[in-house]
Symmetry: C2
Subunit: 431 residues, 2 copies
Amino acid sequence: MTSQDIAVDLTAETQTALERAEAKHRHEALYSDRAHNIKQSAVRDVFDISIRPGLVSLAGGSPSLAKLPVDLVAETAKRVIAEHGMTALHYGGGKGTEELRELICEIMAEEGIVGASSEDVVVTTGSQSAQDIAAKVFCNPGDVVLVEDPTYVGALNTFEAYQVEVEAIGMDAAGLVPEELERRIAELEAEGKTIKLLYTIPSFNNPSGITLAAERRQRVVDICREHNILVLEDNPYGMLRFDGHPLTPLRANNPDDVIYCGSFSKIFSPGVRLGWALVPKHLYRRFYLAAEAVVLCPSSLTQLLVTEFFRVFDWRGYLAGSRAVYAERCAAMLQALAEYFPAEAEWTTPDGGFFVWVTLPEGIDTYPLLYQAIDAGVVFIPGAAFTPSDAPSNKLRLAFSGVAPEQIREGVRRLAPVIRAAVEANAASLR
Amino acid sequence: MTSQDIAVDLTAETQTALERAEAKHRHEALYSDRAHNIKQSAVRDVFDISIRPGLVSLAGGSPSLAKLPVDLVAETAKRVIAEHGMTALHYGGGKGTEELRELICEIMAEEGIVGASSEDVVVTTGSQSAQDIAAKVFCNPGDVVLVEDPTYVGALNTFEAYQVEVEAIGMDAAGLVPEELERRIAELEAEGKTIKLLYTIPSFNNPSGITLAAERRQRVVDICREHNILVLEDNPYGMLRFDGHPLTPLRANNPDDVIYCGSFSKIFSPGVRLGWALVPKHLYRRFYLAAEAVVLCPSSLTQLLVTEFFRVFDWRGYLAGSRAVYAERCAAMLQALAEYFPAEAEWTTPDGGFFVWVTLPEGIDTYPLLYQAIDAGVVFIPGAAFTPSDAPSNKLRLAFSGVAPEQIREGVRRLAPVIRAAVEANAASLR
């Protein structure tokens, strides 16, 4: 290579860099207003970190697949493709297959939603996609969506992409507080706001593990109905109540006022990316057309796999086993917290689901603690991720779902000195 | 059952019906402005009809899977689940797996996009989803998206859901006319419009089958660059040029100005619902975060299946075979059209892809002909579906991709008398 060649190469490289910089500058003006609202999820930040070897991850809300008969799943996949390849590998209808929508009605019946029609079900690419569609169909920029404080970070990201104003409503140990809900609705209406949806995870809320008490459930729907607010009920963990008796979903007795979102991610596998929405009959058409405009149709292959697997597999027995696994893991976490954490820390005692929510004394910001925790060999999600507010949070989410009991114990043991130091420093600063 | 029971039942039923009517009325106010733009796709209307037994469907653009080794797909699915179940059945990263993104770069290299980085690829739930994300990230309500006239109905539905103004630019036999593009951009800019995207299917446009000539390709990108318009290049059929030499995509020499959408639907299987976007580096982060906000992550299972299947399968040989299949089907359609259709009809002669576009004399509306065609035992898609305009169209789309040559011939034979009668009636009305 002559020096002239090098000069030419450098020029070409410089040229490319300059062109890119110019395009970057020029394209900045092209982003939609909503694009500026689309943020990296804090969960995702931590997702990348938490796969480092040696770390104990109490971060991700992954289901345990340890007891899933993987060979039966594999065999079933082979069979549905070999026997129904021309269906499994082709386009399907935008609503999902009739067979899967019927299975979904059977599953919902187990949860307490009796008599739902497969005609009112839309199969979606995970239940995240159902939330995206609900926001698309109902929310103009500036409209208000009510959520629980705290709530699922993925839903927050989805709503914010539609330039919605997300308003968080306080919970106590029995879930959303009806009086608080009414008060906040009245305030927002007085400000002239248009409230479109209440997004709620009534059973084993992500991230808090809190469950909306049975006696509050109808009251919450009634308040929303009075104010013409649709309820978007997200119930991925409903079947995972430790005692095996799911609380009746809000949708059960309110078919006209609740859009219900379910998911195969927690009861079977997140990898098939299948969830669903059960939609009030009068809202169904617009909802499903919007679903179609996003993905055309859900995967025929994973739909057939799930339908056939649930047909040959004792899924009710498997769920009973899963509940026992999660109950054991939750107990391990609660016990380790009691043993290792300082007395100043408080936490929830969930009846099901995947998460424990820890509250530290006021004044502590859990976000910087994350990096100390990583140095100590454990990962969690800081509480600030789960509210629309940008304020620091003294909370943190610990997931017990995806980790074996001894690892949970080890993770809590590693985290304890970080928490203890923060509590002591905070107390010292107040003196 | 006593008469009193019946009375109570009737009352309950009436009550339910009244409640639903009331909810329907009340909820009408909750729809977003964009929801009113979400329409049933005409293709989907016909999709439901075209699965009736006995009908010849020249409607849906389904790939031929006849030569796909379904048993090898089945065996591969079994193997990836059995060997990598804990990955295949779990959540994955929002961008898609590294292995699939590398395979996608290999595939794009075959099409003429050399040196693309897997870091710039986002795996999506079909390429429809990539279009949805592009609209989400770049388009405010009222922004303009330019499209070809005619263009893909699914993209029209997606854009309209974002309340975008879709402007169709004329094509001739060599595709988008650069002078027409410049003229229309100047007009729109003079009207104060903000143009964000040119959505184009440069190779074997759906529905017209027309290909943008090689000598026009750079000119089209240059015009867009001068006016700061991003090019959204949709190239699902690029590898299916009958002569086996794909035309160089717009993206190849314009990495900073083109978002490129590819798909496994036409080269492998629509049932796995996997497509991708190759995004300019400086736009990547926002694009992928928006993808994540919609579906969290693409299906791990179908990603592993595609990656492994393409590793063990001679996909280049299979694509050569697919091209021969489509070339034969296209030839059968062109021959049948020449044989059966009246002299007044004209049609395109595609170099690849799935579709022939028929133009009837002015004054004929092909939409009502659809119902006559169904009575005659054949289905097509009326031309009006493929433009943003509501005006009647004298065009129709015939798909040769999913039907065997003898069926194509039979379909055209059944359609011919319907066309002939329309041409004669139209001529008579002009006399």
